[in-house]
């Protein structure tokens, strides 16, 4: 019995000691970095992208901030009235930890706001910005 418990504990210890080197956010950034030739990502460029008005998308959502609001630490609001959790990782720690979810919303929202999909460079910059917030 004691041995079984020890073995179980050991298994858990190994499982938790497994590579903590990179979280899902770092993995995502690395993935975007490998898909682009640029020197890196910039939170400043990300912020500019976040607040800029685009003409290519839908008229009622010209910018990211149309729904997410100007303050990344405050909740946003969808056109149908649903609250959107704050974008800043400091306020919503679970943000950008599910890569499929991140990609899903980049695709939908970039098409709605910019009228096209975002480039890996834009995604990386934007993430660098919201992660820093």
């Amino acid at each position: 019995m004691k041995r079984t418990i020890a073995a179980t504990l050991a298994t858990f210890a190994v499982a938790f000691a497994a590579p903590v080197s990179a979280g899902p956010r770092e993995d995502l950034l690395a993935q975007y970095a490998s898909a682009t030739q640029s020197s890196g990502f910039s939170a400043v460029r990300g912020q500019a992208l976040h607040t800029r008005n685009f003409a290519g998308g839908k008229a009622d959502t010209p910018a990211c901030i149309s729904c997410h609001g100007k303050d990344t630490r405050s909740p946003g609001r969808t056109p149908a009235g649903k609250p959107i959790a704050p974008l800043a990782v400091s306020v919503t720690p679970t943000r950008y930890t599910d890569p499929a979810k991140v990609e899903k919303w980049f695709k939908r929202n970039c098409i709605e706001v910019l009228g096209r999909e975002c480039t890996p460079q834009e995604k990386g910059d934007w993430l660098a910005y919201t992660i820093s917030q």
């Binding site: 969808t78 056109p79 149908a80 009235g81 649903k82 939908r108 098409i111 709605e112």
Partner: protein
Amino acid sequence: MNLTYRPLVLGITALCFSAIVLGRAQAGGNHFYAPVVDQVVKEECGSCHIAFAPSMLPASSWQRMMGNLKNHFGDDASVDAETAARISRYHMANAADAGGQRYSGKLLKGVAPGSAPQRITELPAWVREHRKVPGWEWRHKDVRTKANCAACHAYAEQGYYDE
């Protein structure tokens, strides 16, 4: 003379009132529409707007809607095939003319069978129930769209749509 009739009249009035209230309750007029409980469906259908109860539209409506997510009221709401199948199954099973019938009450009154309406807010019963809401209330900054049920129905997310 008047004094002898008064209790009787009052009693009859009270009785009529109770009968009307009871009648409405029995007809499913309690304005409860079971909310979505499947977590995947809730997440996929409840991020942009509230996850509308499947019992608010007939199965034919949901089928048609799931066939055109690429243009979902002007937005591309496409999901992967597996998720789409799960959402379809859930909505078809709990639609107003299927498992959700006990909630839908008179909501489908005036809807032609097989007509597959897409907007809950265009169902004749919905229009009738909201006929007294003035235009300025719909345009209010906290409402803006008829799809924003929770702006007025505080417990819409829990399934309650009383006034």
